[in-house]
């Protein structure tokens, strides 16, 4: 039976069909749907396989790895920057190796569409000396789960599956197999020289790892290298992997070049069997390598001068390889004329916080209370506080708290003390906010910390957080209180406010400012708490509709400063009007309007 599946659903299905007993993840685009699909599919197949949303990627990785140490098949999935967080266990696990098949699924985001970087996880795999499989479609991603587990168990090594956004978020008809009972853990076999190796034994493990990688290239390098297109007359060849291969295939057909150019697919870009690949491609006059995003295959083929790709500038060094970019590269490679395309007429609409988003109210109050403040922020929907001028920095998960401390120290040394208001969401706080908070308190930093608690991981599709009782599979877990964690970190000033009341929020901000400037002041925290309106689990009371009266003078405060997408200016009169199909009737704009022209009806 064939079913239309999203790439991430295909991966989840592949995990279950191949007996994966445990999967762990932290949500992040484009990887989020892998874990949620895994638990849904396990439930409907009545499989005892377990999936968990872990607090962060490092924890997900380590938890799943111990299942593999015990002999069960396991997987940890994440987005590429999540692998940075899990990098420590990732590097070390290559040395210790695994028992049950262990897959690291790291979803890359060339573009980037929803990420801080365009980094290539295959490069991380190469650095760790872990084999990596690079699927070109949802269907292939599912097949590679099987291959990945096979290599992992045969060589007792973690294997990376590296899909990209266009695999994760593509839909395709995928053949479904049976979901068997998951592979049961045979039990943990003690072997301290391996699992708890001291540096002396780490050298031995490194030698073993090098031997494994060589053996894998030998055995699987040839099998994972296929000719896809090209007749005998072809004088040029293209070597490609991932979704770039799929787009290259379509382009060669569209440009009617399939007889003139041979196309080879590499399913496992690391470790490459350079001998086998070079033997096949060296007879061609010209060779082009097309891969996303870094020259991983190119670096492994020591044939400078003959091979074109990222390293000689034949393929642009950044950006997604969309069909238009690829067409230019392929035309130049074959010597066809390159047509310059007109750039699009309009700019894409920028994303905004949803109508009724509690973060908007919090940001508005922050901006109004401290117009000259410094606003470090973090990763999540609330990055869009940018639009309200209340977000100055976004670095990586949890950095807002460490950076707020850094800003404080930088200004203190100048003898200044500007208001510093750090914002962080609940899921991000649990993920990476605790160590920097303990650190900031311990080292005497003084700033205001606003925890934007909407009781969900909203940006990635409303996955549960450790702050609520619901687990990934719907079972009841233990909620870990944010208040208790903040207090236990040594924070003395803490208030909890619903930001829908701008007055309460403003009051709390002023009090926090006093508290952190007091003689024994330090970090002053505010939990700005209101459920996300997108979260189906959250129940909002039905409210009376909000309307704009004749008192509106068209000052645009509600449109420009408050930036609610449900309010627009009438193109003829310039007066504000509310789009009732978008309005959530939160009523925060009533408090924002300087003319008192917004009321409930």
């Amino acid at each position: 039976m064939k079913k239309i599946l999203l790439g991430n659903e295909a991966i989840a299905r592949g995990l279950l069909e191949n007996g994966c007993s445990f999967a762990a993840s932290y949500p992040g685009t484009p990887a989020s749907e892998i874990l949620s699909s895994f638990v849904q599919m396990a439930r409907s197949a009545e499989s005892p396989a377990m999936g968990e949303w872990s607090i962060n990627e490092k924890v997900a990785f380590e938890t799943a790895l111990a299942v593999s140490y015990s002999g069960g098949r396991a997987a940890a999935s994440m987005k590429q920057v999540g692998l940075n967080v899990a990098c420590d266990p990732f590097m070390s696990s290559a040395y210790t190796g695994v028992k049950g098949g262990f897959l690291v699924i790291s979803a890359d985001d060339p573009g980037p569409h929803s990420s801080q970087t365009e980094q290539d996880s295959r490069m991380m795999a190469m650095m760790a000396k872990v084999p990596v499989l690079d699927p070109s479609s949802p269907r292939e991603a599912k097949e590679m789960v099987q291959l990945g587990f096979q290599i992992s168990e045969e060589f007792e090594i973690p294997v990376m599956l590296r899909p990209t956004t266009r695999v994760c978020h593509s839909r395709q008809g995928v053949a479904l197999g049976e979901i068997p009972n998951p592979s049961v853990a045979t039990g943990f076999l003690k072997d301290p020289q391996r699992w708890a190796a001291t540096p002396r034994y780490r050298l031995v493990l490194h030698k073993q790892l090098n031997q494994k990688i060589e053996a894998i290239a030998d055995k699987y390098g040839k099998k994972s290298f296929l000719k896809i297109l090209g007749g005998r007359k072809a004088s040029r060849c293209i070597l490609s992997s991932g979704v770039a291969l799929a787009h290259t295939y379509d382009l060669l057909k569209e440009l009617r070049l399939e007889d003139r150019i041979a196309l080879y697919q590499v399913k496992m870009p690391y470790p490459l069997n350079a001998r086998v690949v070079l033997e096949k491609i060296s007879p061609y006059k010209d060779i082009l390598i097309i891969e996303e995003t870094d020259p991983v295959m190119e670096m492994q083929l020591a044939m400078r001068g003959r091979i074109r790709g990222r390293m000689d500038g034949s393929i642009p060094p950044q950006g997604e390889l969309v069909p238009d970019v690829l067409e230019e590269c392929i035309r130049a490679f074959v010597g066809l004329t390159v047509e310059k395309r007109p750039s699009p007429a309009g700019k894409p609409r920028r994303p905004t916080l949803c109508p009724g988003c509690p973060h908007r109210a919090a940001f508005y109050a922050i901006r109004q209370t401290f117009p000259d403040g410094i606003y470090p922020s973090d990763i999540g929907c609330y990055t869009l506080g940018l639009n309200l001028g209340a977000v100055d920095t976004v670095l990586c998960m949890g950095a807002t708290i460490s950076q707020a401390a850094g800003f404080y120290h930088a200004y203190r040394m100048k003898g200044e003390f500007p208001p510093i208001v750090a914002t962080i969401g609940d899921s991000t706080f649990y993920h990476a906010g605790l160590p920097p908070l303990v650190n900031a308190v311990h080292n005497g930093a003084k700033f205001i910390l606003v925890l934007l608690d909407n009781s969900t991981t909203a940006m990635t599709g409303n996955q549960p957080t450790p702050g609520i009782e619901t687990l990934a599979d719907g079972r009841k877990g233990k909620a870990v209180s944010m208040e208790e964690l903040v207090k236990a970190s040594g924070v003395k000033s803490l208030s909890v406010v619903d930001p829908y009341s701008l007055e309460d929020m403003t009051q709390a901000l002023k009090e926090a400012d006093r508290a952190c400037r007091a003689e024994n002041g330090g970090v002053a925290a505010i939990i700005s708490r209101h459920p996300c309106l997108m979260d189906v689990g959250a129940k909002e009371k039905k409210k009376e509709r909000v309307e704009i009266s004749d008192d509106c003078i068209g000052c645009r405060v509600c449109i420009d400063d408050f930036e609610c997408p449900a309010i627009e200016a009438d193109p003829d009169t310039g007066l504000a009007r509310i789009d009732q199909t978008l309005c959530s009737a939160c009523g925060v704009c009533i408090q924002v309007c300087p003319q008192n022209a917004i009321q409930r009806k």
Binding site: K3, T29, R171, G173, H247, G346
Partner: protein, 170 residues
Amino acid sequence: MKMQIGITGRGGQGVLFLTRILSETALEMGLEVIASETHGMAMRGGSVISTLKVGAFRGPLIGSGRAGVMLVLDPGSYDTFSSLLSERGIAFLNAASSQAHPHIDATDLAAKMGSPLMSNLVLLGFALGHERLFCGYSQVEEMTGKISPSRFREANLRALKLGYSAIKKT
């Protein structure tokens, strides 16, 4: 059969649901299909695009000038992606007026129906009325009924029909 389709709008307008209906319809008809979707931050009210390729394709994205049909839920987003449309292609717009393309005020019609969020299906019905898609009205109607959540099924089908019958009148 080979057809490349672009579907664009603002996040939240139902671009993903149209992508799903058309992908499932293609599969049901025994055609090869691959589609790409926008997830993540852009879904928060930003411009989003889905691309759908029916036939012997491998890659999910569409190059400039290669889309045979475009479904446009938000004319503002169309400005960003109009370069995808081929010279002989046709774009169906959710708009009160347009000089260049067949259009229907799907938002208004859906609002009058009492379900402003169903404008995506009104537009799809309208496009099907022009008989330029790879599938016919009845196939899409059946699939819409099959994959709609039960509480929206009836309204979805009414919206689809509303768009489809609008073309018969103009």
